[in-house]
């Protein structure tokens, strides 16, 4: 996720109080609305992203980067350096560092002769595919139609 959870919750609270509350007509509904706001405001400083999801992505990224380094040998110096720059802790910071190392690896591979690049592409592609599937698996069915129609 690109937007911090705290920012998302602050945004929901702002929308509920500024855009929704003025148009809520019954006292009971307004009471429920402000209870929701109260819950959200008190949730914001007690939650963080699920560690299990971060761990899966971290392990997958580490495996892909390791395979790229093994496949490219000396040509992977920039990837090794980027991997070394990824902090060991905390998990969220390590994940950010690993993503940056993957970005570096993709650029390195892109600049290589095709035959050499072909040796490093499969582990990167496998990671991208598996991570994309992991990312969408946790998502709920979209309410875009309701959001658009109002």
């Amino acid at each position: 996720m690109l937007v911090p959870l705290e920012t998302l919750i602050d945004g929901v609270v702002r929308a509920l109080t500024e855009a929704v509350a003025p148009d809520v007509g019954t006292r009971y509904a307004r009471g429920q609305l402000f209870a929701a706001v109260d819950v959200l405001r008190n949730l914001r400083d007690r939650i963080e992203e699920k560690a299990a999801l971060q761990r899966l992505e971290t392990e997958s990224a580490e495996a892909a980067l390791g395979a790229v380094i093994a496949a490219l040998g000396d040509e992977a110096r920039a990837v090794v350096a980027a991997l070394a720059e990824a902090p060991a802790e905390p998990p969220a910071a390590r994940l950010v560092g690993l993503r940056a190392a993957l970005v570096r690896a993709l650029a390195v591979v892109d600049a290589l002769p095709p035959a050499l690049a072909a040796r490093a592409r499969p582990p990167l592609a496998e990671h991208l595919a598996m991570q994309a599937l992991r990312d969408v698996t946790v998502l709920k069915p979209s309410l875009l139609a309701e959001i658009s129609r109002g």
Binding site: G11, R14, A15, E18, L106, A129, A132, L144, S148
Partner: protein
């Protein structure tokens, strides 16, 4: 400024522009479909020389923050204004106003065309917004309108102010650079799937000397439609915010992109992408080069990611209270999945 104040100001604006004895607002509604510019649909009763006439308009106002910032409504207004009398179903657009005293931010007003705007969202039954008869009527109509749009003589109409791309790779390079700049401006760390796509696009920028007017957002969700079974009609092409001069296949790829299929196998929920390409090629008398189309197919997803990142930046920085922009944070993974399909690193890819 609340909606009532906007209505009152629009009344005064129209009274002056129409040179009417009086203009009375009969209805004003803020649209929810568009996530970018603020859109107000309204009806007015115009009194002139003892006669009273009801007219429908749409006002598009620059938002405080949004998906395509920084905003400049003037280029699209100039195009729409110039096309007002054209048989292409674009809304006649008579007025543009930059003076902040009128509506605080720049806006333009166009005549409201008949019809509804079907959106690219799956219905409860998992189908798209059209039945078979509607799809059969609309697919050739949309392909034909796109061909007509691309056939416009942009030099004769004075559209060079949109910027003429350099020959060869100029059009594709300029669009790629435009969207890369937006991605960079959003300020988020580059994601690996997006990086992979950008690297591929840079290596496969196609050459073409075909330069046409490009709508830029030609797809389901920006069409006005009057439903009547097999007589269903396309009544308007809306949302010209991204209009520019470039490669016509950019519009074709955008219209047929996976982005607008709403869970159906159909381009813009109308027909198979290959069928739409063929309809367009026949009407436009233009070969649809598969290599160029592939470039723009991938660029389409990248463009949408850039748009979402721009919206997320505005939300993240607290410059907009519009919570609809926050949903992009959890929609991005779907787009990265599409990148994988188009690039081929995910099963089901092209």
């Amino acid at each position: 400024m609340d909606t009532a104040e906007i209505g009152a100001r629009l009344e005064r604006f129209l009274a002056a522009r129409l040179a009417a004895d009086a203009v009375h607002l009969a209805r004003l509604e803020r649209s929810t479909e568009g996530f970018s510019q603020e859109t107000f649909s309204f009806d007015v009763d115009v009194e002139r020389a003892g006669r009273r006439e009801r007219r429908g308009y749409v006002a598009k106002r620059e938002p405080v923050a949004g998906l395509l910032e920084p905003y400049d409504l003037e280029p699209e207004f100039r195009v729409l204004h110039a096309l007002s009398a054209d048989p292409l179903p674009s809304p006649p657009t008579p007025w543009f106003e930059r003076d902040p005293a009128v509506l605080e931010r720049p806006f333009y007003v166009m005549e409201r065309l008949p019809g509804e705007v079907p959106i690219p969202a799956a219905g409860p039954d998992g189908c798209g917004p059209f039945d078979d008869a509607e799809r059969a009527a609309l697919a050739p109509a949309l392909a034909g309108a796109l061909a007509r749009l691309h056939a416009l003589d942009w030099r004769a109409r004075g559209f060079t102010f949109l910027g003429v791309p350099e020959p060869g790779r100029g059009a594709a390079s300029r669009e790629l650079a435009r969207w890369e700049a937006r991605i960079a401006a959003a300020g988020f760390p580059p994601s690996p799937p997006l990086t992979d796509a950008l690297l591929w696009l840079r290596r496969h920028t196609p050459a073409s000397d075909e330069v046409t007017l490009v709508h830029g957002d030609y797809r389901l969700g920006n069409f006005l439609v009057e439903r009547a079974g097999s007589a269903t009609k396309l009544t308007g092409i809306l949302d010209w915010e991204m209009v520019h001069l470039g490669d016509p296949l950019e519009d074709l790829a955008w219209c047929t992109s996976r982005l607008w299929r709403a869970g159906t196998p159909h381009a813009s929920c109308l027909c198979a992408a290959e069928e739409f390409d063929a309809l367009y090629a026949e009407t436009a008398r233009r070969r649809v080069d598969p290599e160029r189309l592939r470039f723009y197919e991938l660029l389409s997803v990248v463009k949408m990611i850039a748009i979402m990142l721009t919206g997320l930046r505005a939300f993240n920085e607290g410059r907009t209270p519009d919570l609809r922009l926050a949903i992009f944070d959890h929609q991005l993974p779907f787009l990265e999945l599409m990148l994988g399909m188009v690039r081929g690193w995910l099963a089901g890819g092209a």
